[in-house]
């Protein structure tokens, strides 16, 4: 099976986010970078598919040279090769611009299935998968918490509010991953894996290599942009309910506070 994973590098989830002086972007220096956790689930799901059906797993990513490290991590987990789209023109792209570039990269690889996270933990756009599928004219199944394939179809379970749906598509198709670490339990890169990854092929591409230009994918093409950032209101530290009360006393005081002060119960 020819499997492609779309992988984004995001700041570590531990990161403290600060607004840059331009007021429109975040301070990126000093950030630690990781594979977007949902994309890491996609790498895991891809490796499991490969274990069952054979074939290759290709990682397709985009961004500056620091992203090489995340692609190498995925290769160390067991993926076979990587493609990194590193083109300055993609800076300032919107989701559609990035999706156009990714769809072109995917098309060239002729995969049976494309997997990616349902969202990235940085800008939370939740658009890449469905947009790439739309541009390819493929079916997509979103927010998978399970994934089965017999080689010609793919079946997933999708949680919806108050229940779940089982969805199926014939291949080629795109699946976005939901769930949690507990569901996908992505494997770690082993030491031999890390050694091997250094020798695995990693191709660098520019938009022009995909037959695309900056006016189709770059900032000029963006239909939507961030005009300003603000921090959410700081939470004031509250009050510890103690006053020398015993457990019952504190329970009663909390009920009173929630009922009379906050009026939320």
């Amino acid at each position: 099976m020819n499997i492609v994973v779309l992988l984004k590098q995001t700041p570590d989830t531990e990161s403290v986010i600060r607004i840059a002086p331009d007021g429109q972007s975040i301070v990126t220096q000093d950030l630690k970078w990781i594979i977007n956790p949902y994309d890491e689930f996609a790498v895991e799901a891809a490796l499991r598919l490969k274990e069952k059906h054979g074939g290759t797993v290709t990682i397709v990513s985009w961004g500056p040279q620091r992203v090489v490290e995340s692609v190498r991590t995925a290769l160390a987990m067991g993926a076979d090769k990587g493609v990194l789209l590193d083109d300055e023109a993609l800076e300032g792209s919107d989701s559609l611009g990035v999706a156009r570039a990714l769809a072109a990269a995917v098309q060239g690889l002729e995969p049976d299935i494309v997997l990616c996270g349902s969202r990235a933990v940085d800008y939370d756009l939740a658009q890449r998968g469905p947009m790439v599928a739309e541009l390819l004219g493929w079916p997509h199944l979103g927010l998978a918490v399970s994934l089965e394939s017999d080689g010609s179809t793919v079946t997933i379970e999708r949680p919806i509010e108050g229940g779940k749906v089982t969805l199926q598509a014939s291949l080629p198709a795109l699946v976005t991953m939901g769930g949690s670490h507990a569901v996908w339990n992505p494997r770690y890169a082993s030491l031999p894996g890390i050694m091997k990854a250094k020798k695995k092929p990693l191709e660098m591409k520019k938009l022009a290599d995909l037959g695309l230009s900056a006016d189709e994918c770059g900032a000029q093409a963006a239909k939507i942009r961030i005009v300003s950032l603000e921090m959410p209101p700081e939470r004031k530290p509250g009050r510890i309910i103690d006053d020398g009360l015993d457990t019952e006393g504190k329970a009663a005081a909390l009920v009173k506070a929630l009922h009379e002060e906050a009026k939320v119960i």
């Binding site: 947009m131 979103g142 950032l229 959410p232 509250g238 457990t247 009920v255 119960i265």
Partner: protein, 328 residues
């Protein structure tokens, strides 16, 4: 010149989901600011007479695509049905629910209509005819205002439970028009749906959430949180530590890699308050923390803190809630 504002509703198992009314209310405000009619789109199976309900929230005209094949959300089927309607108009903006299905539909629809989508918005303004939308990024650690390029159609999905929903006005009658459904050949399908009928409250829509963490120590101990939740009419959530331990299903996880919630009241029980957890619940109106460690970071974010052993405190608190409910 634009001829309308569009509001897309979500219909499931015979009813509009509440978020549809929130979305219509928000879209109505923008339509009023622009002096335009509000068109609703309702896709599903058995939408029939329910469609008028959208009128109660300000929709002037509802376009209904009703077909057995549209019973469940399948992107390949829904997208062309909705897109073909929108393509007949020159909308000033399109509003959708940022529900599970709505986020998926909106993304694919934005690609089909070649426009920009502001996903999961918490505020929309329309100033001098210019629409701006605010959305949380980094799971709420920062907020971004978005604007559209000249000539681009603003698409906005609205986070459930955040936008003001206007009171239903049953005297407002919407015009309802059934549209012919011409379904494309699809390579994907819904095989089955399992809906939870226990009346469990969905986390992203809950007014009150009681969440347990590693301090709960075992799956069966969540029974005391379930009891408290029952008294309060609350949903039960969990930290990643509790989910990873297998005590709770992944769908209960609150945080940066779980659900982002915004209840009126969030009660964190035996949760330390790691940055990834705070990212998911930091926008709750009120936060209560119950933790035996007075140094737990959650206390710096909590409106009310209780330093106690949760196994002693939660039953006592549940009892006090019960007493309070029986006297008022």
């Amino acid at each position: 010149m634009a001829d309308c504002v569009v509001s897309i509703a979500e219909f499931r198992a015979g009813n509009f989901r509440r978020v549809s009314f929130e979305v219509a209310s928000e879209a109505r405000k923008v339509a009023d600011a622009l002096n335009l009619p509000l068109y609703g789109i309702a896709v599903g199976c058995g939408v029939g007479e329910k469609a008028v309900e959208l009128g109660y929230y300000g929709v002037d005209k509802v376009f209904v695509a009703d077909d057995a094949a549209l019973e469940n959300y399948v992107p390949e089927l829904y997208v062309p049905v909705v897109a073909s309607l929108i393509e007949q108009w020159q909308p000033a903006a399109v509003f959708l629910p940022a529900s599970v299905d709505g986020k998926d539909l909106s993304a694919r629809l934005a690609a089909r209509l070649q426009t920009g989508l502001a996903q999961d918005c918490i505020q929309v303004v329309c100033d001098g005819g210019v629409i701006k939308a605010k959305r949380p990024i980094f799971a709420g650690k920062c907020l971004a205002w978005c604007e559209w390029a000249d000539g681009a159609l603003p698409m906005i999905s609205c986070r459930p439970n955040v936008m003001d929903c206007q009171a239903a006005d049953a005297t407002r009658q919407a015009q309802v028009e059934k549209v012919p459904v011409d379904l494309p050949e699809a390579r994907s399908q819904a095989l089955g749906v399992e809906l939870d009928t226990t009346g469990k409250v969905e986390l992203t829509e809950a007014e009150i959430i009681v969440s347990g963490g590693r301090g709960m120590k075992a799956a069966e101990n969540f029974a005391i949180l379930e009891q408290l939740a029952k008294e309060l009419g609350a949903a039960v959530g969990a930290s990643r530590a509790a989910v990873d331990a297998g005590w709770r299903p992944h769908s209960d996880q609150v945080g940066q890699t779980g659900k982002v919630v915004n209840p009126n009241l969030y009660i964190a029980v035996g949760i330390s308050g790691a940055i990834q957890h705070l990212a998911g619940m930091g926008s709750s109106k009120y936060i209560v923390a119950v933790n035996k460690d007075p140094e737990a970071p959650i206390f710096t974010k909590a409106d009310y803190g209780i330093v106690e052993d949760l196994f002693k405190f939660i039953p006592a608190f549940t009892e006090e809630v019960r007493k309070m409910k029986s006297t008022c």
